[in-house]
């Protein structure tokens, strides 16, 4: 593997290789397709968490509405898949064949205009990125140009998440309502429901995830990454150093939105449906918790956080469905109070020093062994 040593420092390189080994080799070899598909689902949240590392960890912009962008990306993809699944042949029992079933149930007799472009896969892929990106741009411009920040911004993003959920649920005929878009079958004629497809999609997702990791790392290492940190600390100083703080915040927010949208689109493909339950306030806050648990300053931590919290969620909510939410809340409080840098902070403060010491002691042992041959070598 050729990686510029300056792009990742030593511990980041270890993190990168470890994650690549786990996701590309170990998990696909050890898990059956059902479990692998679960991991794929967890990883869709890792996209959101990576975005939050940039936006919240680095830029200090806490968004409690990332579900909005996750959902928009997911819905764009679902619209394409739904149209493909609603061919005239598949829907001939409907009163209006050729439109999605939920439209038929809601007495809609023609495909709405904004659905029509989603017949095209190219348009859909562009829309997965652009619709959430432009929406984030509008929210960002409206808020940050007016210097709305901090908790106020977080509350507004929550409100946006709530509004979008209500809109989707309320406009059943256009969106599938509370059930979401279900019964998705094929992607450009390729059946996505088979085990083989799920296996392939897992790898597509992991490749995209590593693409996002590299993109986030690139942004972090440019001057823009340092300006994000500077802005988080002393916004006024950045402003009075000649920068338009609002534009940088908008950039970070849009980047996070686009990452989330890619995750959402992959979610639709992997799981085969999209519903408002991934858009609202609760899922949005859960996404922040994954980031906090992983460590909000660590791109790799975000991936680990998403994997581990979701794994815990699956195993615990199977046995104690009532307790899980309390557990999640307690976890968040514990992380904020005791480990503000999350898992990556624990690794950095408690595990890494042991490894370093181990390496150092092995090296010095080797040196000592050499020294004992050339007796009386001066101690360092």
């Amino acid at each position: 593997m050729i990686i510029n040593s300056r792009f990742f420092n030593r511990s980041e390189l270890i993190g990168f290789v470890a994650l690549a080994l786990l996701l590309f080799v170990i998990l696909p070899l050890t898990l059956d397709v059902f479990r692998l598909n679960l991991v794929a689902k967890y990883l869709t949240y890792a996209f959101v968490a990576i975005g939050l590392v940039l936006c919240w960890g680095y830029g200090g912009i806490l968004s409690l509405g990332q579900g909005v962008f996750f959902g928009l990306g997911g819905y764009c993809m679902a619209m394409y898949l739904k149209l493909e699944a609603s061919s005239v042949a598949n829907t001939k029992i409907q009163s209006t064949p050729g439109i999605p079933d939920f439209m038929d149930w809601n007495q809609i007799t023609a495909l709405p205009f904004f659905w029509k472009p989603f017949h095209s896969l190219t348009f859909t892929i562009a829309a997965v990125i652009l619709v959430p990106g432009i929406f984030a741009l509008i929210i960002g411009a409206a808020m940050f140009k007016r210097r709305v920040g901090g908790t106020y911004f977080a509350i507004i993003t929550q409100a946006v998440a709530a509004i979008l959920t209500i809109l989707i649920v309320g406009q059943q005929g256009y969106t599938g309502g509370i059930n979401g878009m279900t019964d998705l079958r094929t992607l450009h004629g390729w059946d996505i429901r088979t085990d083989h497809a799920k296996f392939i999609l897992y790898f597509v997702e992991v490749v995209l995830l590593f693409g996002c990791i590299v993109a986030a790392q690139f942004i972090r290492l440019t001057k823009l990454g340092r300006i994000l940190v500077a802005m988080r600390e002393k916004e006024d100083r950045v402003r009075f150093s000649g920068y338009s703080v609002a534009n940088f915040k908008i950039f970070a927010f849009c980047a996070a939105a686009i990452f989330a949208a890619i995750g959402g689109a992959m979610f639709t493909l992997e799981i085969g449906f999209m519903s408002p339950s991934f858009v609202g306030i609760v899922p949005s806050i859960e996404m922040v918790i994954y980031t906090a648990v992983g460590g909000r300053m660590s791109i790799f931590g975000a991936v680990w956080g998403s994997l581990l919290v979701n794994f815990a969620k699956t195993s615990l909510s199977e046995s104690f469905p009532q307790l899980w939410l309390f557990g999640l809340g307690a976890l968040f409080i514990a992380v904020v109070l005791a480990f503000p840098d999350g898992l990556s902070g624990i690794w950095r403060d408690y595990v890494q020093p042991h490894i370093d010491r181990l390496i150092a002691s092995r090296k010095s042992k080797a040196r000592w062994a050499d020294g004992s041959v050339a007796d009386g070598a001066p101690a360092e």
Partner: protein
């Protein structure tokens, strides 16, 4: 022929500037002119409106009425970052630096290139940047601390770092709010030396309480009281102005 009557060009011309906060006029019909390469010190009791004047010039506070002309540009209509790009630099009262970044990175962010989003994504740390950062770091006595995180610096060093961040911007007008407050005696002397060195190609507007320091550096002193100018002139003139003695120096 009016050629001979052409008024002198000021670098900064503040005219009839007023700002009121809920009816309280923090700055009231203030006019102030700063020439090229002048060190002007603003003194005055607490609440006289000194910091507010700097806030108004750099755009942090919007004026209620009046005008601020800088090199013929009306600053009251510009945004903060545009005012910086026009050539005005501002140092805050408490050291305002980025503690999670190194001294080098702090200075680099203030380097006047790549200030747009795209520009900062493609910004390269080339020789020009490195040389300039090192040059400024030497001026502010931090040359051997370039790779130290800024939270490790002493209070005085943080103040110097912020001055350095302004120097690297190369502003035509440098505004400093109490640059020696909280500094030790030796740091104070070094700061005076630093200021005297950096004023060569620019004008400086300083707020300061330390009279010894003011005497050392000021070309001209403006005394503010209740948002208005009480007295203006050389330190000698101001010191002997009975009005000034009464409201400020006498206390």
């Amino acid at each position: 022929m009016l050629i001979g009557h052409r008024p002198k060009e000021f670098l900064l011309a503040v005219e009839a500037l007023t700002v009121s906060f809920d009816g309280f006029k923090a700055v009231n019909d203030l006019s102030l002119y700063v020439e090229e390469n002048e060190i002007r010190v603003i003194i005055g009791p607490n609440g006289a409106g000194k910091t507010t004047v700097l806030d108004l010039i750099c755009g942090k506070t919007k004026a209620t009425s009046g005008s601020i002309q800088f090199r013929g540009k009306e600053l009251t209509k510009l945004k903060e970052n545009q005012i910086v790009q026009a050539g005005v630099g501002r140092k805050f009262q408490t050291p305002s630096i980025y503690e999670d970044l190194t001294v080098f990175e702090n200075l680099e962010i203030s380097f006047p290139r790549g200030r747009t989003v795209f520009g900062s994504l493609t910004f390269q740390r080339d020789a020009a940047v490195k040389d300039r950062v090192e040059e400024v770091a030497e001026m502010i006595f931090l040359k051997d601390r370039l790779n130290v995180y800024a939270d490790q610096l002493s209070h005085g060093q943080k103040q110097w770092l912020e001055i350095g961040m302004l120097l690297i911007q190369n502003p035509d007008l440098l505004m400093l709010d109490e640059p020696v407050a909280g500094m030790s005696v030796s740091e104070r002397a070094k700061t005076a030396e630093l200021l005297n060195r950096i004023i060569k190609d620019r004008s400086v507007l300083v707020i300061e309480h330390d009279m010894k320091f003011v005497e050392d550096i000021a070309h001209k002193v403006t005394v503010l009281h209740q948002g208005q100018i009480l007295s203006e002139g050389t330190m000698e003139h101001v010191k002997n102005d009975p009005k000034v003695v009464e409201v400020y120096l006498g206390h």
